[in-house]
């Protein structure tokens, strides 16, 4: 499956490429932030009221803000200084932005990774079967793919969310339950429906790539030989077709993690997510407080950009090293 040759390519490409290293560093740090959010957070992300005495939210540490206040019918300006207590400031209702940033990383990556996994699990078998057997099954898949392509992925995702609702799952947080982070939320809200929806929107890319690989491998001599020796279709699929199509699927999956992170942030920006601990949702909150409390919308956006750049850089690295020859159309998605 992953031969020594591939490993060697990956390593040498990684050594040569500054960007690949940057990608790994970016993704790893965001991954760690999300993973250990309860430990790294300074405040419970839901806790409100971290404002100064006059009720104004704090700017990031080191900055200060002039806040207009109504007093006896007059507008007066109060200066609010950032505090080290709230490194990245607080939002409109006084929640700690740094802590929410960490939890937002968790949501983004969780949705990105599990959405990609689910889409792979849905698309790859369909694509392999269609490509391997060809004929009607294959025609059917291609027509379905045509239909899915005509849907803008964000539009389809929104329509699905509109129809299915914003179901979430509460997952107990082991770090908090084990007592390592007192005062943090004991269950994490996992936007399960978002994961299902992004998988429904993106599975067809995996099906297309798997189909192309299966079609190519089907005609290889060694597959024909295995067939003539009496190997069953199932065995051939498992032993030959699947392992050989792994490389392009891995590259596609990486690109799709980036696309899904962007899609999730769009959904939550538009209020179709189900959890409030999401970068997109936080940007939506900050939109209403422009331009004065600019940091509320700015900071989570930087999180999205860094995470997506990290994933894209890793995607470029894998693509250069593995040279899977897939079309660029699966990449990107709605920004």
């Amino acid at each position: 499956m992953i031969s020594d040759r591939i490993k060697a390519n990956l390593t040498s490409e990684f050594r040569q490429s500054v960007l690949a290293k940057l990608g790994v560093v970016l993704l790893l740090s965001i991954l760690l932030m999300g993973l250990f959010a309860p430990v790294l957070a300074t405040h419970n992300p839901h806790e409100q009221g971290h404002t100064n005495d006059a009720g104004a939210s704090y700017p990031p540490y080191g900055l200060s803000d002039e806040v207009p206040m109504f007093e006896d019918g007059d507008i007066t300006y109060h200066s609010v200084d950032g505090t080290s207590e709230h490194l990245l400031g607080t939002n409109d209702i006084g929640q700690d932005i740094y802590s929410r940033f960490l939890y937002g990383a968790r949501t983004s990556l969780l949705v990105g990774l599990s959405g990609t996994l689910l889409a792979t699990a849905m698309g790859v078998p369909v694509g392999l079967v269609a490509g391997y057997f060809g004929g009607r099954v294959d025609d059917g898949l291609m027509r379905v793919a045509d239909v899915m392509l005509a849907f803008p992925s964000l539009v389809l995702a929104l329509a699905l969310m509109g129809a299915f609702g914003r179901g979430t799952i509460g997952i107990p947080d082991p770090i908090v339950l084990a007592g390592f982070a007192d005062g943090m939320p004991e269950t994490a809200t996992f936007p399960g429906m978002v994961v299902v929806v992004v998988a429904l929107v993106t599975w067809v890319w995996f099906a297309r790539v798997a189909r192309g690989e299966a079609m190519a491998i089907r005609n290889e001599e060694y597959v024909k030989a295995a067939r003539s020796l009496g190997a069953s279709h199932a065995t051939i699929m498992r032993r030959h077709v699947l392992p050989n199509s792994l490389t392009p699927i891995i590259v596609l999956a990486t690109i799709q993690v980036a696309a899904i992170i962007l899609l999730e942030s769009s959904l939550s920006y538009l209020g179709f997510s189900g959890t409030t601990l999401s970068w997109g949702y936080e940007i939506q909150r900050g939109y209403d407080y422009l331009p004065n409390q600019w940091w509320i919308a700015t900071i989570p956006g930087i999180g999205i950009v860094l995470a997506v750049i990290g994933v894209n850089l890793i995607g470029d690295w894998l693509r250069d090293a593995l040279d899977p020859n897939i079309e660029g159309e699966g990449g990107g998605g709605a920004g």
Partner: protein, 442 residues
Amino acid sequence: MLSTRTSRAKAAEVLADMTEEILRVEGLKTRFFTDEGQVNAVDGVDIAIERGDTYGIVGESGSGKSVTARSIIDLIESPGEITDGRILYRNQEFADGIRDDNPDAVDGAWVDLRGVSSSVRRSLRGSNFSMIFQDPQSSFNPTITVGEQIAEAVEVQRRASANPRSTRARSKEYTLTSLALGTILPSKRYVTPASRERAIELLELVGIPDPVERADEYPHEYSGGMLQRAMIAQALAGEPDVLVADEPTTALDVTIQAQILDLLDDLQEELGMTILLITHNLGVVARMCDRVGVMYAGEIVERGTLEDVFDDHVHPYTRGLLGSVPDLEGASDRLQPIPGNVPSLLDHEMNRRCHFADRCPKAMEACLEHPSEHSARGSDHHAARCVLTRTEYDEARALADGYFDEADRPAGDKHVGPDERDETLDEDRQHPPAETTGGEHQ
């Protein structure tokens, strides 16, 4: 066929004082600076070509013959670079035109092309030198009609002769603005109706039937032979002094090959062109050339008249090449490949010995020194880069069989096949494959 050529070469010798050299290459070195290291694709080549002659450069692929041709016509691109040598071109009108700007590069009617600016060199392309390529299908732009592409070449020449030589290099290039205007206004287009007419005439000249219709067709609608004719038409558009033909028949069927060679022959007679023919096919050389240079590992190892090289060769490599071609006279149609591989041209893998020694059946101790060129058989037009020009082969001083197997391995890993390579090399020490010669760079 051989006999007519030989007699012609003899006639050329007789009339030696009436012929004149048109192109002289001296000590040409072209290097490619790749990630794997410096590739010495052309390593000190001397060529002298007389007006109206056909000069053949023959060698295996990767010997640097194609790079030599491209160096002459200034088509070497990064990471390649001509690092040394002179390329002298004799043209009185050209020399007069650029003398004031380039006093150092001009000597009488001779101009050293390495000493003039790239725009001047560019101005020679198409009008003084032109080139035909191995694979016509990939050497035409697939999305533009053949007629239009030939008309472009005509236009290059038409515009060039409209400007006097002295101002040509400085005259404005066709700008992006003109190109943009040309998409809207037909009168601003680069190619004029007159050039289109001429393109059709040229197609007719090279024997393409229905040239008016065929001019509007795309390259993929042509057969290989027809498209090679069209490429020759394109090369003739500028009425060049020197036509460089890089493997002009390699991609074609045998019957078509003969037609294309006939065409080149006829055109040369008619137009008095000089042809530099690059080929690995000795049959083509025998059929076309007056003089021949045999290339190996970036050097010309033997040169002389066709007769010298075919019937009176000195270098064992020439002997080997001739042995590896089906004999035209039919004495033997078995192809005898020369044992061993074309050597690596990577600078750090090249030895200071004779590059052919490891494959040479007559390798001697003297061959461990790099040989310089000496005249062969006492002739002034026949020379070889081989110790055998001066000494006879002596079995007593021969190198033992398998001498290079041991000597070379630690230095270069040259004989490791690509498959073994992956197993044996760790990723820190990535050597390029032995075939990476840079010779057939593109």
